[in-house]
Amino acid sequence: MLSLLKSKLNEFFELVAKETLVYLPVDNSSGQASYQKWKEGVVYSSALNTVRSAKDFFFPQMENLMDFKMQGKSVEVVDTRVEKEDFVIFGVRACDVASFSILDKVFLADPVDTYYQNRRDHAVIISMACSKPESTCFCPLYGIDATKPEGDLSAWETEDRIFFKANTQKGEVLLNNASRLLEESEGQIVEVQRETTKKILEELPFAHLDLSKFKGENLMELFNSPKWAELSQSCLGCGTCTFVCPTCQCFDIKDFDTGHGVKRFRCWDSCMYSEFTKMAAANPRLTQLERFRQRFMHKLVYFPDNNEGTYGCVGCGRCLIKCPVSMNIVKVIKQLGEE
């Protein structure tokens, strides 16, 4: 297996960054990790998860879609997209990589969202295997192997080295370009690490929750369950869970009048917000119960029903850690999943 001495990691980033932008998880002043652009002095963080997921790269919280120029009665539409350069995302965990294919099912479905597609096409994903999962992780529940993440290039971090395996053409090209830093070394240590981690993953408290009830044929029964009232009563109606979630993809499109033109932008929106479904007709989800139910029904029932059984959750555990009132998808699955 090709590997890189960790002491040469900085050199590796420097080399890759000569060609393309490189993003990697970095510890910020809050003691948590966030993706940042590599520049001299930026240090890779092997923190398990960034606060915000990697979906930002393809579906940013805020993006300008187009500009409008108005003069008299005429309107001109200006596509403000610049041809994007390729970029490399380093250190994406298996759960986040899995979330990309869930987002693809939404944004690349007909009609294709070209903004998303453009960024997707330009990205090279270097994933990072997990070796120290949190108790809030539950990716095995969805069949995700955290010890063998997907992506253009899979990576494993050991005591002193990072091992690489290319999964796509893009990944191979990147490895070739960096070949002078890499060396062929015994990959046995990776297999050992994988086995150890697998054992931990297997024993994670939520690795084997019962999802059997969450399927299309139980839609009405689940929807009408009296348990939603109790589960949703503590919900603050904030957007934390939806914004840290790697698979939440609701958005809003708005116009901003700059005083010398109009910018149309897209930004994240949250189904937990009271005004989310306010539409021409009225607001069909007036209470927090309905909004709370929508989020979990979408992830656990509607989405799999429309997408060959793929759940709209990857078990990254961010919402378990971040919810201000500790009400989360695991508690919902446990409550509703029992007979």
């Binding site: 901003f256 700059t258 005083g259 010398h260 910018k263």
Partner: protein, 148 residues
Amino acid sequence: MSMNGANEFRPNIVAFCCNWCSYAGADLAGTNRLEYPAEVKIVRVPCSCRVNPLFVLRAFQRGADGVIICGCHPGDCHYTSGNYFARRRMTLLFSMLDYLGVEKARTRVEWVSAAEGAKFASVMKDFVQTVAKLGENRRLEDIRCKRQ
């Protein structure tokens, strides 16, 4: 923000003037042909206490380099006590802006009566000079609203 030939910075100033005193003061300055800088854009408000902190912030967003609020002298408010409330609010707001690192000289409150046309003109001249020295508003700017 605008630049003239001599590269001198000319700030955008928004002045919120209370209808009963300061706006009349500005009017008096005009009828007496007292000059005050053209950079000052006056927004008439019913009372200085009508000025919500958001007004101040949004003036900065939309390109103001300085914001000044003018009201009746304490004790002279048309609505008895409006300017007393405005005084507390703006004190706290300005202090907060300072705390966030926004230059404190960009914000000001002045009491100008309907009879003080000359004071209005001199206050504005002074404020424009002060803000001009600070340069363009960078710390509370909305880049989208800047003209390229």
